[in-house]
Symmetry: D2
Subunit: 352 residues, 4 copies
């Protein structure tokens, strides 16, 4: 409401409000300015999780609860500004998952789209629709909407990865479906690496008599660290960093040329030692993992030091500057994919 | 968690949880079954608003608060299952707006996409990017994302319409931007009816030297009752109703052949007297307005009688059956547009 | 070749050419300037067909040959610059078809996409995939790629329409497929007007249990004169004509918001009496039918007078100016749809 | 026409035809069966060019005519069934280009889309919009529609490549535009390899302040042999060949997930020694280059032996079987991209 009311009118209004409430009717003018804001006012906070500390708790959970009991043994990274939501931003979820040697996370599928980003360990697998991907540190693995997936760790060491999902978005739209496969593991219907071989290098299978093995809409699900880090290093060797983003590459769905999943976009960035990005805002809330190096992120007025494997969340429209103390490599994911589809995405750079 | 734990383990876990909480770490296994459900479990309730009662409150608000004070004089239809959310479903908003003779709702634009559906009154206008649409009962008018719009009532009678917006979705993505035009009214840059003349009948302007006047992505914003009711009546005269939906037509964006806006789809349905739809579920939460006739809606186990201008909300995945006591005409809008873009939409019919 | 050669080299080259010829090898440098021209140099000529004269020949053909004998009794309008090609432009075909009372053109389907534009007569029908459209003067009817179609004339008068097809384009790509239905007429599976009722006014069927009756990619095939001429007249009553095109509306495929068929675009234009368009070139060769009025078209250096039902072809990139002596209404179709899909379309206006 | 006519009617018809001819009117019924055929009847012939023989003629042309005189020193591979057309199929062009050490082919751009496939030589370059690609044997390089390109050979050996263009298609649509840059070479605006680094591995540049350097619609133009042959070999090592195509990968435009250019699709295939494909027809006319190995192609009733660097054209809808005597690697390009956009593409496999 634009102006205060005389006491009398105020009282009458309050009476009206009281009468309306049981009928589920409420005055817009009392809340309009909070509903339609001139710029985003996210309830989420900028926040950083020290990997060492989170890892310690996760391993303790590993001692206390079996994979079988937990179904998925995961610590949720819940944004302190969104208590009870299980969200790291209003639209996205993040968790750290532990699979101990010999464990299996049983096969299921659901409406939620997921990515896995390997934090440590080497040799566990994710299988998607019957194709296994062996996971190595900093590999990106997708398990898109309604595709069967299971995980297992036949290596000799614990495996920890970051789970990034669109759980809050699927809940927002009341559209969660899920089911479990009767067997814990999906039969291995194709050899590991099949989709990478078929879609790995700006090539795709020519149509023949063999049916395509992966959904045509999302043919690739494994983006190995060895590949993306080499591409990023090549870029950094050849040119100056972009002043706003540094060297930055987005993971691409080869079927569309767009983001990896309809709700989630993912990218990697490399900032040379000593480089500092220009301040930038964007309407997508973003989760970062430090893959390599040390540095500092300034988010609004808060400053976070960054060390290897730390996790940082930057809510929508907070101004961010990142400084690299040593060569700094970041992985990030956000809801930009959904925002672009719905016509909502914006970004702005603060000019020097 | 799949099985109860021994007391000892439980206690150790609880200690772990307590230590983790300050670090914003939470156990997924305690909440997983609520986050990823086998089918949608919307917190929203099915609910009906009697128009007469809501109207009465709205007119009283009209006595107590001026349009100028309210900026928008609107009663929010808040779902009783979503208290404090201002949402009629988790993703959509609905409100009843009153503009009294002589009033103007000042010009602004915002990230939120809106539709107006006229409940009563005749002759007020909505102007979108400088083009006025004169609003008559049961007309549908769009004010899409980031297009300037203002309303005014130069007729001699109060005007009430339903506002349908994607406010909760824009908030979910933390992507609200808004601004006001300095002037209350946008200059009238084209004659009323311009976009309808240009896009009204499966025709569109051929490119010439004259710039297109409306955004190419959304060229049409006025769908008059006279047009849609005639189309629906023609359909009903020519064929038997579909057993699941009755006679049903969706409003179409002529630039894409898809739903009217990226986040909202809208449709109308006609059920002949005595007709009853087969039970159906869909993952989009839907808001209905009774345009004509009487009948009954069964939503899950609840039964709602329907009379002219009543408003009904059906949450995601509730089984719905609608029975027409007289010829029954409904207008509906939902978040199906967004769900389809994000790969989430589903529907199912209960077979006889 | 950029420069003349000494006689000796010329002779050696000629010997080389002679030796290469049996091996199907030819020197590009002798023809490059004709293959890759700075602007289009169409072999097609601008040409006008007087309707009265063409009609006279067509009726004589009607006396001499039965519909059964002819399969399709059509006079091809072949461009005099493209002898033997049966094309009115290099990519399109045009013909005048006559169906006498009682005749039927048997049901078939083919890769070629076709439009019919009614020149005279009233009450014959085209049936597309089992839905009949009753044809009235200046109606546009589509029979898209691979849809069953048959025609019949149960009225008491001869019916003449223009056939516009992409025959040369399908031949260019060696992609002609065709088959005949065993029966002469396709069973009438839906009532006439079904698709218009369902897609006629920026509405489309909502998905129900009833399968869509027309191909989802092309749901509408009848664009009646009564509809398009009213839309054009409304436009002309409300605003000044565009200086380049006059009042111009393109027929739209409601499933895509694009041209009516993948290879052919169609439009109508209205020029007020006394109006003259600014000179314009475009890379699509266009065929015009004068629906109403008199005027003059200047194409390059040639001038054509225009009278009702005359047919005019304007090849690619010829500068065109059209002057209306009385209110002039034109129907036109061209290959712009294909050119846009292939990234080839261009247009340019000569500035005053 | 379906049946013979009595002599008298025939004579009358012939008189009618004679009178119509000066008016550019022709009887469809005399030619309909040739215009709309039940299956494609391409005038093109299957044909093979021995590389050694073509190369010999090309080198002789190199002695007789300078690059400067020729502008492009190319031997056209004209289909013997399409005399005078300069086409290898009705819609596509192929030529063998020679650039001698020290020569430059000056910078120009045109509506025609082109690909280059390197036959021999190592180290010449193609520059596209100011980015150089160093060309090695069997590399694929694109110069899409309206992008500046020039070639130069600063290596010490002759360079020969295959030019594949859509010249006949651009001519078919009368849509040829071309212009020369004033300078022979485009300034080198980015370092070689830039686009490959940025789009090479299912990654793409994230938007920053640096403008994208290549057209967003076609960001990649160099597909090195080292990359595609490794992908093909990986595929062959991992699985059995598809019975219809062998191991087959299509080159992909990373911006769309579709064919490399709007008018041309390109692919590579590997057939293990002793493998024979099942007979197959498709509506795209295809040009093959033998990259490696020996074998035999049966096209309709004709048999062609295949040796390294030989060139073979297979017209639309001819049944093809390919047999590999040794491991056989083929590169192919066709007009499938255009046919799919226009709704014309078909293929069929002969069942065993």
């Amino acid at each position: 409401m634009t102006a205060p009311l005389p006491n009398d009118a105020r009282a009458q209004l309050d009476r009206l409000y009281e009468e309306m409430r049981p009928k589920s009717l409420y005055p817009l003018w009392e809340v309009l300015s909070a509903l339609v804001t001139p710029t985003p006012r996210s309830p989420a906070q900028a926040w950083k999780w020290d990997y060492a500390s989170a890892r310690d708790h996760l391993l303790r959970a590993g001692d206390l609860i079996s994979a079988e009991q937990a179904e998925r043994r995961v610590l949720i990274l819940e944004n302190p500004g969104l208590p009870g939501s299980s969200g790291i931003t209003p639209s996205l979820y993040a968790g750290l998952q532990l699979i101990l040697p010999g464990e299996v996370a049983p096969c299921h599928r659901h409406s939620q789209s997921a990515l896995r980003f390997v934090m440590e360990g080497d040799g566990a697998y994710t299988a998607v629709d019957g194709e296994k991907a062996v996971m190595r540190p900093f590999d990106l693995v997708l398990t898109p909407n309604w595709q069967w997936h299971d995980h297992g760790n036949h290596s000799g060491q614990p495996m920890i990865w970051l789970d990034g999902l669109d759980i809050p978005t699927v809940r927002h739209f009341d559209a969660s479906f899920a089911e479990r496969l009767e067997a814990a593991e999906h039969p291995e219907t194709v050899a590991p690496g099949d989709s990478t071989r078929r879609y790995g290098r700006n090539l795709r299978p020519l149509r023949g008599s063999t049916a395509d093995r992966r959904p045509a809409a999302q043919p690739l699900f494994h983006y190995p660290y060895a590949e993306w880090s080499a591409a990023l290093a090549d870029l950094a060797a050849a040119e100056a960093p972009d002043p706003v983003l540094g060297h930055a590459l987005e993971f691409l769905n080869p079927a569309t040329g767009g983001p990896v999943m309809p709700t989630i976009a993912a990218h990697v960035r490399l900032l040379p030692a000593g480089f500092e990005t220009r301040p930038r805002r964007s309407s997508d809330g973003t989760i970062y993992v430090v893959v390599e190096g040390r540095g500092e992120a300034k988010v609004g007025d808060e400053v976070f030091t960054l060390a290897e494997r730390d996790l940082l969340v930057v809510p929508s429209w907070r101004e961010v500057t990142i400084r690299a103390d040593s060569r700094l490599v970041l992985f990030g994911y956000s809801d930009r994919a959904a925002q672009e589809k719905l016509g909502l995405y914006r970004e702005a750079v603060t000019n020097a």
